[in-house]
């Protein structure tokens, strides 16, 4: 076993870390007399190409995954005609969308309308650039990777606003306004929730965060269960997925910001939604689930495969919530951000800061601190949620969920009322 490992370690065919492949490339280019800067440019382009092709593949596959999984949840089959298990359905969809005529509202500001779907697609792709796929396998090892992710995800919301505003449609404008209101509210719990991770890892570099988890032999979700819940809910609000898909709320405002889009422009929105979901899943997998590192498992299975597995695990939860949950109303959603998630995230940050301080000052070993922190933070998570539910949960007038039953008719003799005032002034204006 070890011999086999030694045999492949570090050579270009060692698929556990695809960055090994760059070494023969580097040597080949150096022999050809290309300067270091040229090699840098070429490898950066190759890495970008890899990310973009991954994104393309993901967009195609996820259409099938989402429709198929949701179909199963809805006790129907999902696409199953085209190709084996309907796998070619996304391609047929794409061809159909490309052939369709792109209609544009006549009075819409044209350039915003056109730019919006493109601007919506870019952040999802760009976020994937800083995700570490293996020990050396990261395209852009930014020191401020976490901030970069946050900044880009807020840009995506701006493009949603552009789409809604430029469509010159009331439903779209509603979607745009809702997106803006939601962004203003949910940015705070997202940032405050992720602060705990930064405090633990002592860095905003995603690779450093993964290495922290490896060093201390614990997934961040164990250390930060509350932050995980907060981030998961907040980001599903930013992603416009149920239970927070108020920006495109099909049953209320038809399609929200993309009501007026057709053809491949709509297709871009559709694909970008899936790409963003995968990008967010990748962030969650990296920050909370150990990224490419998984308890020695990454020595046998390539880390990037583990990461993709984790990404799809998280993505499945996104699809699951979408297939299951109804939608909040916008005021409830905003109240949830301000009254529940923000205080919870701030309390979490304070507790984490105290823990990190004690950890550094006492100098006791990890074998004491990691289980202690896991215990404290799990208790904090459960305790806070129970406390908030007990204290702040909405109180309804009366709360029976069962109707009364009468074996016969029972009508109290009610006083006569004059009809409400509306009837007097009613009718079309």
């Amino acid at each position: 076993m070890t011999m086999l490992l030694d045999l492949i370690t570090g050579y270009w065919w060692d698929a556990r870390d695809l960055s090994n492949m760059t070494r023969p490339l580097y040597e080949f280019l150096r022999d050809q007399g290309v300067s270091d800067a040229g090699i840098f440019v070429i490898s950066a382009l190759l890495g970008t190409l890899a990310i973009i092709s991954f994104v393309g593949a993901v967009a195609i596959i996820n259409i099938w995954v989402e429709r198929r999984v949701v179909g199963r949840m809805q006790s129907r089959l999902g696409p199953n005609r085209l190709g084996p298990f309907g796998l070619l359905q996304p391609i047929a969809d794409a061809i159909k969308l490309m052939q369709k005529e792109v209609l544009q509202p006549a009075s819409a500001p044209g350039w915003i309308y056109t730019v919006a779907p493109i601007a919506f697609t870019v952040p999802g792709i760009a976020i994937l650039a800083v995700i570490p796929w293996g020990r050396n396998m990261v395209l852009a090892n930014l020191d401020v990777g976490l901030l970069y992710i946050l900044g880009l995800s807020s840009l995506a919301v701006l493009s949603v606003f552009m789409a809604g505003y430029s469509s010159n449609n009331k439903y779209s404008l509603f979607g745009a306004m809702r997106v803006i209101a939601m962004l203003v509210s949910y940015e705070i719990p997202i940032v405050a929730g992720l602060l705990g991770i930064v405090l633990f890892a002592g860095s905003m570099n995603l690779q450093e965060i993964v290495l922290f988890q490896e060093e201390h032999w614990a997934f961040m979700i164990m250390l930060q269960p509350l932050a995980f819940l907060i981030y998961f809910f907040s980001i599903s609000a930013e992603l416009n997925r149920t239970p927070a898909d108020i920006a495109e709320a099909e049953s209320e405002i038809v399609g929200g910001y993309h009501t007026e889009y057709s053809g491949m422009k709509f297709g871009l929105f559709y694909a970008a939604e899936l790409i963003n979901a995968v990008a967010v899943s990748a962030i969650i997998a990296t920050l909370f689930l150990g990224g490419w590192w998984t308890y020695k498992l990454d020595e046998f299975i390539p880390g990037w495969m583990l990461l993709i597995g984790k990404i799809y695990g998280v993505y499945f939860i996104f699809v699951w919530t979408r297939g299951t949950l109804p939608r909040f109303r916008i005021d409830q959603l905003l109240a949830f951000a301000w009254k529940w998630l923000t205080p919870m995230a701030l309390i979490n940050v304070i507790v984490v800061a105290a823990e990190v301080l004690l950890w550094n000052e006492t100098g006791w070993s990890d074998w004491f601190w990691i289980p202690a922190i896991i215990a404290i933070n799990t208790a904090l998570c459960v305790g806070l949620i129970v406390f908030f539910v007990k204290v702040f949960a909405p109180k309804f007038q009366r709360f029976p969920t069962r109707p009364r039953f009468y074996p016969g008719i029972d009508v109290p003799s009610l006083p006569a009322v004059t009809p409400p005032d509306f009837a007097r002034k009613g009718g079309p204006a």
Binding site: S413, A416, P419, P428
Partner: protein, 183 residues
């Protein structure tokens, strides 16, 4: 105590009760229904609604019938608490049908009166917004009236004989069909 099964109050009983307070309101009464004077119908309806015995708080439905010479507004009232119902009719002119609106008394009459106006052309005095309900505003005429689109050749609206019925047949020759037997 409500009746176990809905009792249909006879028109005479309702008329007697109504005459006790408003002698002028009732024009005539039969076993099935009461006919009210159109002039004082609003007050009569108010009495029907608020009277403890009649207790017609629930307006089941209202509609109109075109009788060629006059229009009849037909109202069905019920008391849910006592579980009885009764029927009231208000006649009005055929050419210029106008009755008083009861929408200020029952919220449920609001849409139904608009429907009657739309399809029958009955005008309701005091209705908050008497506009067409189903048809568009410029629709010519009121389609449920019997004289809507007078038919040529002396034909009358309605069905005068059964389909496929020929001269000399009474219509009784047609028997119910039995599926699968060819009969």
């Amino acid at each position: 105590m409500p009746h176990p099964k809905t009792v249909t109050l006879s028109g005479e009983a309702v008329a007697a009760r109504l005459r006790a307070s408003q002698p002028e309101a009732v024009r005539s009464a039969t076993e099935q229904y009461v006919v009210l004077e159109p002039a004082g119908m609003y007050e009569a309806m108010l009495f029907l609604r608020d009277d403890a015995e009649l207790d017609g708080k629930f307006l089941i439905q209202l509609c109109s019938v075109d009788l060629h010479t006059r229009m009849d507004m037909v109202y069905h009232f019920a008391s849910l608490a006592q579980n009885h119902m009764f029927q009231v009719k208000v006649p009005c002119d055929h050419e210029k049908p106008v009755v008083q609106s009861i929408a200020p008394l029952w919220a449920g009459a609001w849409l139904q009166e608009r429907e009657v106006y739309d399809l029958m052309g009955v005008m309701f005095e005091g209705h908050p917004s008497l506009t067409r309900l189903f048809l568009w505003d410029s629709f010519p005429g009121h389609p449920l009236r019997k004289d809507f689109m007078s038919l040529p050749g002396g034909l009358k609206p309605g069905l005068s004989q059964f389909p496929k019925q020929k001269e000399g047949q009474t219509g009784q020759e047609f028997r119910p069909q039995r599926p699968g037997t060819g009969l």
